[in-house]
Amino acid sequence: MNADDESAPTLAAPRGGASVAWGGAAPPAARRRFLGRVAASIAALSVGGCDRLSQTNWFPKMLGSAETLNGRLARAVTGHEAMAQEFPPADITPNFRSNGTAVPDNPRYAALAANGFRDYALEVTGLVAKPARFTLAELQSMPSRTQITRHDCVEGWSAIGQWQGARLSALLDVVQPARSARFVVFHCADPMEEGRTAPYYESIGMDDAYHVQTILAYALNGAPLPIKNGAPIRLRVERQLGYKHAKYVMRLELVESFVNIRGGQGGYWEDQGYQWYAGI
């Protein structure tokens, strides 16, 4: 963002013929021009002022504190076990929209995909008693859940899909998180920036990790998860917005804090200023 972008929009003053002065009053065209300039200055001051505030350090922080409060309140009001709405099969969106990465620009991922993900294994590391690797077949044989839910993007759109996947709670029961583990971090295969840098990542709290509807999805609408939607594994964390639902998940890491991971905000978009808690 550039502070200079907000120069006052120039209001074209009406160009009439010769202006006639009546009884000493300002000619109408001149008065209109003056009023136009006043209006433009007020608009520029207020909008420009908002932009200047947006560029300070303290102001966005203050604004963000309200979002943190909103998140706490929303969770407190609804309770831990609250279930996201589920839909009948008739409501399924025929071609589930792909957003963000459609094909990860990553040679290692491309090799896995070429082989139908037969060599894929989900790694689980960090604060667990039993670090482990799960092949796709192993994940598919774990306790699963199938759910038809609505995906809500932070941009505003929604789509409905049927997801099938291993329950994250079942996987956590196998690896046994340490008491100190507070977050599950999802490391993904899709680079988000030029030069194959900044792979996508996300994180969720243990309340969402153990929620019944939180699954590592391997199927969409009854078919293997397409690459554009996150094959072979994507997270479904149904009570939060779309950017939390990490695609192309390669590794889970259980941590006590994510401040030392990448930008320190707990996710790729969080590092760009989006809220970590995306239930609003």
Binding site: D5, V47, S54, R75, Q85, E155, G156, W157
Partner: protein, 289 residues
Amino acid sequence: MNDSAHPAIPAISGVVRDTRTRVRRHTLAVRVMHWINVVALALMLMSGLAIFNAHPALYWGDSSYTARGPWLEIGARDDANGNPIGYTRVFGHEFTTSGVLGLSTDDGRMYAQAFPSWLTVPSHLWLALARSWHFFFAWVLVLNGLAFVVYTFASRHLTRDLLPTRSDVAGIGRSIVDHLRLRHATGEAATRYNVLQKIAYLVVVFVLLPLIVLMGLGMSPRLDTLFGGWVDWFGGRQSVRSIHFIVAWLLVAFVLIHVFELLVNGPWNHLRAMITGWYRVPQERGHER
């Protein structure tokens, strides 16, 4: 119109000075809450339009991707000659809206953005920060609104000033005609809100503002779990988003009418009344000037 003769205006408890009657029109509490509301509503609208710009289309139902498609869409595309135009599509009818919607110009530079920079906070597409502004001032709006509702009941502002009386209701037809002819109240009648004004304020405070807040909450994937499927009572999440948008513009329409009525009924007098509390009661026609 009021028929009581000037200068005997028994209903007014104000002072008479230079044959002009001044009354305390607005209490300090109402004035403070009014101006907080002005700031909060303006910022909610502008940050809301910035959020809308991230996906400038509205739908009906749960999903955005049904055979129906969006009922409202704002965007930019090339016309038949390859020149960029801004368009607004409403129920399948396309209007060219270059310069205002879809495509705008700033300092001679064209940019594609649904609502133009001068209407949004932040001015350029920056969804994360627009959400921060929106959710912060939502608290200001809601707490101020709750304070106002408590105040109207506790101070009896509601029953004394806002609820239409029986004679108000009987005179509603005449009030509509008076408004259309831009005839404003004088004397004792000018010290009270007229019936259309009362109805407008009640609808804004008790219908539109609660509805827009509820529709905002309905877009939260967490709050829609509160009790099963309540968002579907309003047609689904995308319908809720549409209603949120429509109510925002109904509030804008209210503000435009509100300001228009102010302009034709003595803007400085009303503005002063909302700042200092003092209002000069306009006298009967023929007595003035």
